[in-house]
């Protein structure tokens, strides 16, 4: 590659990444801007002075620490649960022959096609009848077992299909049963696919917006996206800088973790061998 082509590529990459980086930059810097700076035109790239008081306001206005923990633990439980459910179902659908397999797979796939707005009312009724509204159960059970986990099962199935048959034959020769093969041979190989599922699932749970609003009503049980909409004055007008501080706190730690672990993250995602 010639120098000139390289330079052109770098220039292109730099221009392209502006819309990806600028919003985050603006969010982080605006969270410490005085409020008049937020409305300034042209927008200031760097705050004229730093005002960190909004960060303590976040914790005064909402049990933000608790809400952070809620989001984290729900996302963690959902991620682990989904990985287990999807790995099992994906393996069975890909590698085991049993009567009704195709029909059952189609039945499960229906979940891939349903936006959550469609089923939220009946789900709310069910959980209410079970006495589980204003608890975290709906936010945990539905993603692990319901529609959101179907994509995970689909990804796992597509991965398992690509494994060579010899693998299981060898395992059988070694005296391993189906379960043994699944746990000791197949699962370790599925690490990249599981990584992809983990990322998808974690982000899905972390971003869940409609469901928490509908199911939860006590501030100490709220999740982060829901909490973000609560930084308003008593009359519904947003407290912009406080909201941006809270938004920054929901985004930055995840971004930092990602930058540190991004090799595993992305390569895990990349090496799923996702073959439609």
């Amino acid at each position: 590659m010639s120098r000139r082509v390289k330079l052109a590529l770098y220039a292109l990459l730099c221009v392209l990444c502006v819309p990806f980086v600028f919003p985050t930059w603006w969010m982080v810097t605006s969270s410490v801007k005085p409020i008049s700076d937020i409305f300034a035109f042209p927008p200031a790239l760097v705050p004229s002075r730093f005002d960190f008081s909004t960060y303590s306001r976040v914790f005064e206005l909402q049990p933000f620490g608790q809400q952070y923990l809620n989001s984290l633990y729900i996302a963690a439980v959902v991620t682990v649960g989904t990985m287990a459910v999807a790995a099992m179902a994906g393996y069975a659908f890909a590698r085991i022959r049993f009567p009704g397999q195709n029909v059952l797979f189609l039945v499960v796939l229906v979940g891939l096609l349903i936006p959550s707005e469609v089923t939220i009312v009946p789900l709310f009724q069910m959980f209410h009848a079970a006495g589980m509204t204003d608890t975290h159960w709906p936010l945990i059970l539905v993603p692990i077992l319901g529609a959101p986990s179907v994509l995970a099962t689909f990804i796992m199935r597509q991965f398992f299909i690509t494994l060579p048959d010899e693998l299981e034959e060898a395992a059988r020769v070694d005296g391993l049963g189906r379960f043994g093969t699944f746990c000791r041979v197949v699962l370790p190989l599925a690490r990249p696919a599981l990584g992809a599922v983990a990322i998808f699932t974690f982000l899905h749970s972390w971003n869940l917006y409609l469901e928490p609003i509908v199911f939860l009503s006590t501030p100490s049980k709220f999740t982060l996206p829901q909490a973000l909409t609560q930084f308003v004055d008593a009359y519904g007008s947003p407290l912009w800088n406080v909201q941006l501080s809270a938004a920054t706190m929901t985004a930055l730690p995840i971004l930092v973790v990602f930058v540190l672990a991004q090799r595993q993250f992305i390569e895990g995602l990349a090496h799923t061998g996702l073959k439609g």
Partner: protein, 311 residues
């Protein structure tokens, strides 16, 4: 297989030593493994879906607490709804725009990052980072940036361009919502494409180059066929996702200006939750479900035409 072998096999099948043959045991394990997913699907997908169909046959006034069977009335209303044309047009424009832009940009970024350049990891991280920002936070920020006097027009102004009032023009509002959504999520598809590209054997390109194939021909004849399974997967996920975009519209435009960004899922939300026409909302849900299902089925059917080595 020899005759002898056949006979042995027949005899083995004719007198099972016990009930739990290997296929039967396998089947049991299979059922066990899928049971959580299947139970979940029945409880959290099929049952609510059935209830939605049932609701769509009712007139349900939440406040008055009345719930009465009206048969196909909501479906007749759907056919006569004067807003439906506009809603379906917006939905189609939005979805097509989103899918095309997302897949094209994802592929372009993946190809750029697949070049042997220093610092691609760095850029990859940047392009992927919006995926990790909470959707609500992301949308709130863009709401600011897209204002008449916001950051986008500030940047454009610095480049000497007089930017439009993004969220107030019908076309620009639709475009804005598409772009906000694409920038947020294109990183995922980009990474999947990148993986697929890295799986294409380099010798194929070298051989084609020797045969005198240009870059474009190599892309069309080698790259596209070899990564077609990934294109299929990403396009299914993206199409389904494009019909479910909701929070962004709720925060950025609330369906306006006019009804230019009132896509089906947002219209459904308005009817069912804001206007409290739960029966009609359920009818729209059924329609949305049928559209998503039809599109997915269509993609799956068409895959044999263009997806390489589909087994």
């Amino acid at each position: 297989m020899t005759d002898l072998g056949n006979r042995v096999a027949d005899r083995a099948a004719a007198r099972p030593r016990h009930f739990w043959t290997i296929p039967r045991r396998d089947a049991l394990v299979g059922y066990l493994l899928i049971s959580p997913q299947l139970a979940g699907s029945a409880l959290f997908v099929l049952l609510p879906l059935g209830l939605v169909v049932y609701f769509s046959l009712q007139e349900w006034n939440v406040l008055a607490g009345t719930f009465e069977f009206v048969g196909g009335e909501n479906y007749a209303k759907l056919l006569a709804d004067p807003n439906m044309g506009q809603v379906l047009t917006s939905t189609a424009l939005f979805s097509v725009g989103l899918v095309v832009l997302n897949l094209a940009l994802a592929l372009i970024l993946a190809i750029l990052l697949d070049q042997r350049l220093r610092g691609t990891t760095f850029f990859r991280t940047l392009f992927f980072s919006p995926v990790l920002v909470s959707l609500v936070a992301w949308t709130i920020v863009w709401q600011f940036l897209l204002q008449q006097d916001g950051g986008i027009n500030g940047l454009l102004g610095a480049a000497g361009v007089d930017g439009p009032n993004w969220l107030r023009g019908e076309t620009t509002a639709l475009l804005s919502v598409v772009v906000v959504q694409v920038v947020k999520n294109v990183g995922l598809n980009m990474v999947l494409f990148l993986a697929a590209l890295q799986g294409v054997p380099r010798q194929l390109y070298e051989a084609a180059q020797l045969d005198g194939a240009g870059a474009w021909t190599r892309f069309l004849r080698i790259t596209v066929p070899l990564i077609s399974p990934t294109i299929l997967l990403t396009s299914i996920i993206t199409v389904v996702g494009s019909l479910q975009v909701f929070a962004q519209i709720a925060v950025l435009t609330q369906g306006g200006p006019g009804m230019s960004t009132t896509v089906l899922v947002y219209y459904l939300y308005q009817q069912a939750f804001q206007f409290r026409h739960l029966g009609y909302g359920a009818t729209l849900s059924v329609l949305l479900f049928l559209i998503v299902a039809a599109l997915t089925l269509l993609q799956w059917r068409l895959r044999r035409r263009w997806v390489f080595h589909e087994s």
